[in-house]
Every structure is written in C-alpha cells, then in structure tokens.
C-alpha cells in the first residue's frame, strides 16, 4: 500500500507540475467540431480569435516585444519600458492601437471583462489586423534569422519555424463574411496556409 501511495503521489506531483494553467481569454469562443486529428504546433503559432465580428490577436511570447516595437514605429505610438514589459505578459488582446496604452494600464482581471476590448479593426480603411500579422511574421523571421546566423538552429529548423504559423479560432456561429475577410487579409500577405482551430468529434454526425 505504501509503495502504491508513493507512486500515486509521484505521478500526481508530476502532472501538477507539467500542467499549464489556462489563461483567461479576452474572447472566449465556442469552436466548431471536426474529425481531423491534428494538433496545433507547440510553438511559433499566432492565433486570431474571431467572435461576434470582433477580432483578437495572440502572439507567441518570444516575438511580442519586437512586434510591438515595429507597430509603435509604424503607427507612431510610443510606449514606455513598463508598457513593453506589460505587453509581453499580455495573453492576447483586441483593441485599437490608440487604446492599447490604456489597456496595458488595467489589471489582468479587468482586461478580460466584457466590453473592455472591442476587437482589432480590420476594415479596409484602418486595417490594423493586417499590420499586426505582418509585423508579427517579420519579427518571427528576424528572430529565427538571428538564431540561424549564430548557428543555433539548422537550416531545416529555420525553414519550418521561420514563418509564423497562423491559426484561426472562430466562433461556430460567426458569419462567414467575417471569416472570409480575415482569410483574405492573410492571403493579401501571401499567407496561404493556415490552421482552423476545431474541437473533436467522430464521423457520425
């Protein structure tokens, strides 16, 4: 009995240690189901969440700062060092560039409240989503360029990770034109392959 107990607790502590706490998302969506059993890659994936015509963007941690630096230059919004640090901790966001500063001032609890974040603009006049995706991809490219130059990764790894993967996580009830618009934005910058995040089901539906 004692041995079994020991093993059980050893396993228990292992699973607790490895489990990652689920971050509260600013936009919880109900994804549609599919039978495709393929997992999202672990790293190098940016997620675009779409729900109620609002778009949210989540980047991998390693490129957040670089992307914000590029965006700050592009859109002429200056950020302080604290704001950069805060942005790196931010798990996904959905605000206009002009509202980003005030979002970073809020506490993490307040950020996920309803109607605090109203989505990133993606219309043709003010297409900030396009810029975010483009800058994130360039940051990812630069990040791995550097690693490749330093000889830390092989050419093969560079080829796989060099281009940022994009996953679209849409709400099942979202209207098709919104999804289409986001896909078009990706295709406009020659991002022709992306992932659709889905739940799992069997073939009997």
């Amino acid at each position: 009995m004692t041995a079994m107990c020991d093993v059980a607790f050893l396993l228990l502590s292992f699973f607790i240690m490895t489990a990652t706490a689920k971050q509260p998302e600013p936009k919880p969506v109900d994804t549609p189901q599919s039978t495709v059993i393929e997992k999202l890659p672990d790293e190098g994936v940016a997620t675009i969440t779409i729900g109620q015509k609002q778009v949210f963007f989540l980047m991998p941690k390693n490129i957040r700062r670089a992307t914000l630096e590029r965006m700050s230059e592009l859109r002429n919004v200056k950020f302080t060092e604290e704001e950069y640090a805060e942005f790196e901790k931010l798990e996904g966001f959905g605000v206009k560039m002009s509202e980003l500063k005030s979002l970073l001032k809020l506490s993490p609890g307040e950020r996920v409240k309803e109607n605090v974040q109203k989505g990133i603009p993606y219309d043709s006049i003010n297409n900030q989503l396009f810029d975010w995706v483009k800058q994130a991809r360039e940051s990812q490219r630069a990040f791995y360029d550097e690693k490749f130059q330093a000889g830390e990764i092989t050419a093969e790894e560079y080829g796989v990770k060099g281009d940022l993967q994009i996953a679209i996580k849409g709400d099942a009830k979202e209207e098709y034109p919104t999804i289409k618009r986001v896909m078009d934005i990706l295709q406009e910058q020659k991002k022709n392959k992306f992932y659709l995040v889905t739940g799992l089901r069997d073939e009997d539906f």
Partner: protein
C-alpha cells in the same frame, strides 16, 4: 492490508495486558483521491491542446497562369452553402450541369452520401481520361448567410471523403440567384 501486526501474542501468563493501539493508517481513501487527481490531470493536460485543421488556400496573385491546367468540367462539383445549414450542389458547368442542382443537408446522411458517389464518379471520369491518379475536384462557395460552422463542416467532409482537390471560392452572381430561386438563401 495496511495494518501492521504489532500486537504480540502476549498472554502466556495470566497477566492481562492492555491492547496496544494499532499504528497502521488506512491509506485507501488517500490513494483513491490521489488516483482521482492523477486521472483528472492526465485527461486535462492531453485534451487541452487544441485540435487544428490545416487549410491550404490557392495563391491569389496569379489568376491566369499560362501553365494552369484546365480541370475538366465533368469531374468538378460545386457546393453552395445557403442560409440555415442548407446546401445546394451540382456537377459540371453552371450553365449546363451534368447533375442538376440538388439540395442536401449536412451530415453523414446528407452531403456525405452525394460526395462519396461523386468521388467515385470523378475517379471513373479520370480513368477514362487516362489520369487514374486524379479524381473529383470540389469547389466550395459559401454565401454571406452561411456561418463558420458550415464551412468547417464542409471542410471536414472533404477530409472524410477525400476528393482529389478542393478549393474555397467566391460565389458568382448567377449562383447566388440560383440559391435565391431555390429558397435557400
């Protein structure tokens, strides 16, 4: 099981000894709880990884490449998604379809049966043409009243029925009219 036998056989003599309390602790409940938690953490950690469907789209920049091979109309199927989870599909050209527009529902008893039939049909045509590796080509066109679930459902059907090729396209005005006339828009 977990008890330790510590009581000596004692009483040879007439002395009555007070029974020693048993130092063994019953661990059953604790182990039960530990295993319950293990199961919970095991399941949640593996299932929390999101499932994803890779979707390759054709390049937009080169609409009329000279080397673009024409797909024979006989093995081209067009699926139009209307409102309220309804589908209209036809085979061949829009003006002169080889199978006229047919309404279908989602699911294994709806569009999947048609798709499986058409996949076979497409393979047969391809064989006649002398290209046995090729098969049915599906063109998916969703209307503005379709929702995201419909799109994923159709893409899922593609993953199940495995036509040679599928693409997501834009609906033409004629096809939109057809949907409206059929009352599916």
């Amino acid at each position: 099981m977990a008890e330790l036998n510590t009581g000596g056989d004692g009483g040879k003599g007439k002395k009555v000894r007070s029974k020693k309390s048993n130092p063994g602790v019953d661990l059953t409940a604790m182990v039960d709880l530990a295993f319950l938690l293990i199961t919970f953490f095991m399941l949640t950690t593996t299932l929390s990884k999101p499932q994803a469907m890779p979707l390759p789209m054709p390049d937009k920049e080169q609409p009329d490449r000279p080397d673009k091979t024409k797909i024979p109309e006989e093995r081209m199927m067009t699926i139009l998604i209307g409102s309220n989870n309804r589908i209209l599909w036809y085979m061949g050209k829009f003006d002169n379809p080889s199978i006229p527009p047919t309404e279908a529902a989602f699911g294994k008893n709806g569009i999947r049966k048609d798709l499986l039939k058409n996949v076979e049909l497409g393979k047969a045509y391809a064989k006649q043409e002398g290209k046995p590796q090729q098969g049915l080509v599906v063109n998916i066109k969703a209307s503005d009243k379709a929702n995201y679930r419909n799109l994923v459902d159709i893409l899922d059907e593609m993953a199940i029925t495995k036509p040679q090729l599928f693409a997501i396209g834009d609906m033409t005005a004629g096809e939109l009219d057809l949907l409206k006339q059929s009352g599916l828009y």
